[in-house]
Amino acid sequence: AASLQVTKSPLSTDEPATSLDDITSYNNFYEFGTDKSDPKANSGTLKTKPWTVKVDGLVDKPGDYQLEDFIKPYALEERVYRMRCVEGWSMVIPWDGFPLAEVLKQVAPQSAAKYVAFETLVRPAEMSGQRGFLQALDWPYREGLRLDEAMHPLTILATGIYGEPIPNQNGAPLRLVVPWKYGFKGIKSIVRISLVDKQPQTSWNMQNAREYGFYSNVNPAVDHPRWSQATERRIGEGGIFAKRRPTLPFNGYGDQVASLYSGMDLRTYY
């Protein structure tokens, strides 16, 4: 039986969920290597207890929170979300988590706060991808959201998958899930949440600004400069003869989130 106490959410999709095996064995988590099998193979070394989340910046209640204290106030919900990777594949993942908005209300952002910035753990001794030469990204991994995106009810912090604590390769013990954006926006193994007044730097945008924008909303009409985003392959669906699916604007969450971007040219703000 599942070990986490979880309630179902009306925000879940009823599409069939990808198998736990596929969800946990096919990951991008460059802190553990660049191959998709690396995170599962190498993340066993990561110690997630104890774990501290620093909340700082433009908030009334900053602090270094022990993970247990940080998540205790919130009831876990099951959110079955589509996940679309910028590389052109997708999954359906039953996350267990709580709205980021509730956390933000708790820590009380000041009126000058316009963005939320996140950082992943840097611990080369336990994260093999952070050692040696030829490191794929500039650590710590950084991500960010506009405050209204962060407050949106679809945006969650997840601590579990399929009713069990989240495996290391999927971003234990705490990760972000923003289902209408490309997967890399869902920063893993979070150690810092900062409220800031300016658009924060984000890792993939720093690595290649032309290819990865700050917003990175799923958008079939705006190609990645090197590949099309018009279609996707759903993992675990039909083996080698799986049919490609059309990619939907905002990953199919347009009804809920398109209004966040009204008046914005999504080609400019990709």
Binding site: D22, T34, S228, G239, A242
Partner: protein, 210 residues
Amino acid sequence: MRLTATQAKFSVWLLYVVAFLPAIWMAWLTVNDALGADPVRELEHRLGLWALRFLILALCVTPIRQLFRINLLRYRRALGLSAFWYALIHLLVWLFLDRQLEMQAIVADIIKRPYITIGMAAFALLIPLALTSNRFSIRKLGGAAWARLHKLAYVATALAALHFVMVVKSWPPEPLIYSAIVATLLLFRAVQAARLRRRAEPAPLPRPAR
């Protein structure tokens, strides 16, 4: 160790068989659904990688002869043709399984996406090489013209390595390592060619007799 003519011939055929084993292994993995979460991508990646590996091996034959005095020339055709077969299956998997024969998307990809344009160019260059990888063509073209044509292998291999670098995000080590190997092999030839030219140049022309 010298091989008898029969042993030499047999060893070449053995190489064709060995070179085919990765394909059989991949077919087995495919049938048994053991290619992981994204089997099409995995199949594409592995086939492309074997094509590049065989191209690299074919380019190693000459340096090995010049540096270590080991002559593996009789195996080069098998290596080159194996590269071609893997590249062909790689392309077919992309056309049929990945892009699922959506011709419009395929044509757009080939024109618009530099990594696909480059991959297609590499494959196109391999076609004349594969077609002329036989004794009849060498005789028909003449040794010098045939050798000149087969210098296209350098271009094709360089493009194949570039294709590999461009298909990934960031700079993971694998494509960079393969590219470094290809660059080394091409540099070796450039240095050799420069040395030959230098040796050829200063030879003074004999004065015409009056």
